[in-house]
């Protein structure tokens, strides 16, 4: 715990300028100076320790320009344009282009405004609450007030005076940047070279291994002086940093977007997209409250990814396969996804060989990081996966230097095996052993959705000959409970199947509620399939004990109070459409409607008040003891 505190103290206070934060606006009238003193460069998509989830989350402010992005009329979006960087406020483009900090709108927006000026007007009324006059004001507010917005790519067609200063701010030029910028990039590069020379003595090999993920923006990367990186470090993520392997951390952070990147932070999203493999189309009609989460059009990635199969030389086939399975939903469930990922890594490590002039520890970590970012693109990581990755990277980092490559690979592979075995398979067995003691003859057990741990518990109790009945509660759209129901009924367990709508009715007869969890957070909050909180709350109201079954490797030290700040959004189509019921599918053309938002949340957070007991591989503990488990677990494994 100590290094954490020191590293936090070390951070340059400038960092605080970077986040979501209404800082005092940098002086607009003096663009040149502001660019030379470099207002904190855009946060690179990567946080210092991209592998580790930061314990605290900063809820993003809802600034008006973002809401305008949302309301952008579909006409201004050309589909071939992949990352629409800031298609904001077409109306403001003309007036504000000379103001440096007020970044001009992105390419798409700019172009659209030139082509059809009425599209700007069209966007305004659709916003619902903003008037045309407000738009201009709104666009300028975030630009001056929020440093995050201050760096946006310059549209090609904007006046030169503005362009010069802005492009200096731009850390990473987009591939399609005009030639003119390149000269300035060279200048900056020279400056950076000088800086680097100064640093070079201190860290010789630090920047060497950084070129890993193939990306067109690469050349600027190694040139980046570490001091700048420090500036980019977000406070929270830096706290994860461990004392020993600082240079390593830096390599890492180049490759993996932060697992919980705030998706309404445009600059970061930009960076992430440029290096992404899976081309995602952003959802047109993003849900307002969840703008910080990735929202993509579903169903478009798969064909795209398939078509690129032979171009992806960086992604190992095993990883690729698992990623595809995540993408199309073949693999779901925390344990299954985690095991699949680890096994894919195992495959990849088996086929791995260290390139010349590189060390295995560093290069492999970077490799893993690139795989992880691929996974994230396919589907956001679950917390269990994040923990497993953390474990793996830690193991790689702690490999003795003396090992030969094959030895090292074998060690890591066996470590992965051990993790799967000990932390998942055996842990489940222990959980089952504990949980079965809480099932008495005559019990009526309720479970929600489909949890592998709960299924094992029920089947084991049945094998022991306990007389009990199971109520499987299910919900749209996934209807996962049906699978569980089928497997239980096949084994001869007495079951009742109902939907969550009937929960208050069915709970009269229930004596125990068994729930699975995607993660348990350190304030005892259970992060699980959406609907779990509802079940737990009703059970609490009925004074029925709620038992949550969760392996200790899924615990996380983060604290979360609601389901909003961190979540995953699924395909909105599945909640608007009911398959096989053509008569009630009124929302067919919903995508074009600006007034309709369809948040399809995947997870929710159950407050610890509703949880009577958490059953983990360390035994049965009250939700108040989660921090102890987290602490002990860390101590045991990687701290």
């Amino acid at each position: 715990m100590e290094p954490r505190r020191t590293s936090r103290a070390v951070i340059d206070p400038k960092v605080r300028q970077v986040g979501f934060f209404t800082a005092t606006p940098p002086p607009p009238p003096d663009p040149i100076r502001s660019s030379s003193t470099s207002p904190p460069p855009p946060l690179i998509n990567i946080s210092p320790s991209g592998n580790s989830l930061s314990p605290v989350m900063i809820p993003p402010p809802r600034h008006p320009s973002d809401s305008l992005v949302l309301r952008r009329p579909p006409s201004s979006l050309d589909s071939d344009f992949y990352p629409p960087p800031s298609p904001t406020t077409t109306a403001s483009a003309g007036d504000m282009s000379d103001d440096i900090i007020v970044s001009p709108p992105g390419k798409a927006g700019g172009r659209a405004s030139l082509k059809n000026p009425q599209s700007a007007a069209a966007s305004v009324p659709s916003g619902g609450f903003v008037t045309a006059g407000l738009v201009k004001v709104a666009s300028s507010v975030p630009a001056t007030g929020l440093t995050t917005v201050s760096v946006v790519n310059l549209p090609p067609g904007i006046s030169a005076g503005g362009a010069v200063s802005v492009e200096v701010q731009n850390e990473r030029p987009v591939s399609s940047k005009p030639l003119k910028e390149k000269t300035s990039k060279a200048e900056r590069r020279a400056l950076q070279e000088a800086q680097r020379a100064a640093k070079a003595a201190a860290k010789v090999e630090g920047s060497k291994t950084s070129i890993v993920a193939s990306s067109n923006a690469k050349p600027t990367k190694p040139a980046k002086p570490p001091s700048q990186k420090n500036d980019n470090v977000t406070i929270v993520a830096a706290s994860e940093k461990k004392g020993g392997d600082r240079p390593l951390e830096k390599d890492r952070k180049k490759d993996v977007p932060h697992p919980r990147m705030q998706y309404d932070d445009k600059s970061r999203v930009e960076k992430a997209k440029r290096r992404s493999v899976v081309k995602q189309t952003e959802a047109r009609n993003r849900v307002e409250l969840f703008r910080h989460l990735p929202q993509y059009e579903h169903g478009t990635q798969l064909p795209d990814l398939q078509s690129k199969f032979f171009e992806l030389d960086t992604v190992h086939p095993a990883v690729y396969k698992v990623g595809l399975q995540y993408l199309n939903g073949d693999l779901c469930g925390g344990n299954a996804r985690c095991i699949a990922m680890l096994q894919a890594f195992q495959e990849a490590i088996k086929d791995y060989s260290t390139p010349p002039e590189k060390t295995l520890t560093r290069d492999l970590t970077a490799k893993i990081s690139s795989y992880v970012s691929f996974f994230i693109e396919c589907r956001p990581l679950s917390i269990s996966m994040g923990n497993a990755i953390r474990f793996l990277k830690n193991r790689i980092a702690k490999l003795p230097i003396t090992l030969t490559e094959s030895e090292a690979k074998a060690t890591i592979q066996s470590d992965i095996d051990l993790f799967i075995n000990e932390k998942i398979i055996i842990a489940d067995k222990v959980i089952v052993k504990h949980a079965v003691t809480k099932i008495r003859d005559g019990d009526v057990l309720l479970t929600y959705g489909s949890s592998s741990a709960v299924e094992m518990i029920l089947l084991h109790a049945h094998e022991l000959g306990k007389q009990f009945r199971v109520v499987v509660v299910d919900s749209r759209p996934k209807l996962e409970g049906k699978l569980l129901l089928r497997r239980l009924v096949e084994k001869g367990v007495n079951c009742t199947y109902t939907h969550i709508n009937a929960i208050s009715y069915i709970l009269h007869e229930v004596t125990r509620v068994f729930l699975g969890a995607s993660s348990v957070l350190s304030n005892g909050t259970v992060y699980s399939r959406v609907g779990t909180a509802c079940v737990a709350m009703v059970a609490h109201a009925f004074r029925v004990p709620v038992l949550v079954c969760c392996e200790a490797y899924k615990f996380h030290e983060r604290v979360q109070l609601d389901s909003i700040c961190s979540n995953e959004l699924g395909d909105p189509n599945v909640i608007s459409k009911v398959s096989g019921r053509e008569d009630i599918n009124y929302l067919d053309g919903w995508a074009n409607s600006q007034n309709l938002q369809l948040p399809n949340l995947i997870y929710d957070a159950t407050p610890s008040d509703y949880v009577s007991m958490i059953i983990t591989d360390y035994g049965m503990v009250p939700p108040t003891s989660v921090p102890v488990i987290v602490r002990e677990y860390r101590r045991e494994h990687w701290m």
């Binding site: 005559g442 009269h508 125990r512 035994g619 009250p622 102890v628």
Partner: protein, 404 residues
Amino acid sequence: MWWRSASFVLDNSRNPVNDNVPPKSITISPPPLTDSTAAAAPPLQNPNFNRNMPMSAYYQTRAAHHGVVTSDWLSQAQEAAAATGAVDGQEDRSDGGGGTGGRAFGVIDEFNRWRKQPDLAEAVAAIRALAAVIGNSEANTMMELEIELKKASDSLKSWDTTSISLTAGCDLFMRYVTRTSALEYEDFNSAKSRLIERAEKFGEISCKARRIIAMLSQDFIFDGCTILVHGFSRVVLEVLKTAAQNKKLFRVFCTEGRPDRTGLRLSNELAKLDVPVKLLIDSAVAYTMDEVDMVFVGADGVVESGGIINMMGTYQIALVAHSMNKPVYVAAESYKFARLYPLDQKDMSPALRPIDFGVPIPSKVEVETSARDYTPPQYLTLLFTDLGVLTPSVVSDELIQLYL
């Protein structure tokens, strides 16, 4: 409620046996219910059959140590003890002697010898007995010794399964003693002496626990306060005694503590100390609660959730106190920390105890003979233990660290 539910109706049609389910019983699924109640209920009804009544050994011990009991209950208990206890004792003895083969020494005997001392808690007696096992052991290797110790503690635990503190004390002893680095010693004898040393130390700590708790709790007793106590607990008595010695001015409300009237004994003891005492019947708790400043209870066992298992009536007192925002303090030695996690009242191994109603009970009337209840942690304010003054949630932390 449940019997009008659709799935219950379905269930019913599936198992036509269970028409005669008494609706007030807690278990819901019919078949086992009929079995258990039918088997257990009828013999319990008749007071004449009382000697067959199951009786928790733990409460027998307590009664022997400090029961203010009615004469007829005592005779019944003695009868019961004569009927079942003798058999048990013989079994135990044979188990203790036969199971260990050549061992010249039985844990149970040793345990019983320690247990005779009225001021010694059962768990401490067990700890002392187990320490003696190490001392008398003829084992030549650590493994052998460990196995022997394990056997001894198992036989102790099975001697009285209803005593939580006995089980917990044995478990804790095993953890504490065997978790030492003794196994790293080259020499067996030095390792063994180290084990004995630790065992003695643990026994001493356990003995001192009551004093430590009494000292810790003094800060919470202020002049002019009114304390409600329930049942007879030696720790609580020690706390009150220390407070009286410290010249604190307070008065105590004692509940009667039916059925074995342990409150009477406590009030006797307190009267000897010149502490103003008022005796209440158990049902007068809510009536007097607004006068009360704090509730002090002991515990048979402290469970992992931070709740306590204690004499029947503690739960309702805690509920009343909670609803009136009065603090509920629990005084419990750390050897009572048990790795149990009851989810509700019925989720424990029952400790039964005969109840004397003074008049014959008709055979059709069922009597609830459970001797203790479970108080969930949200109704407790603080736990005074020899580890310090803890909030209920810390109990599980301590247990996790101990058993991990």
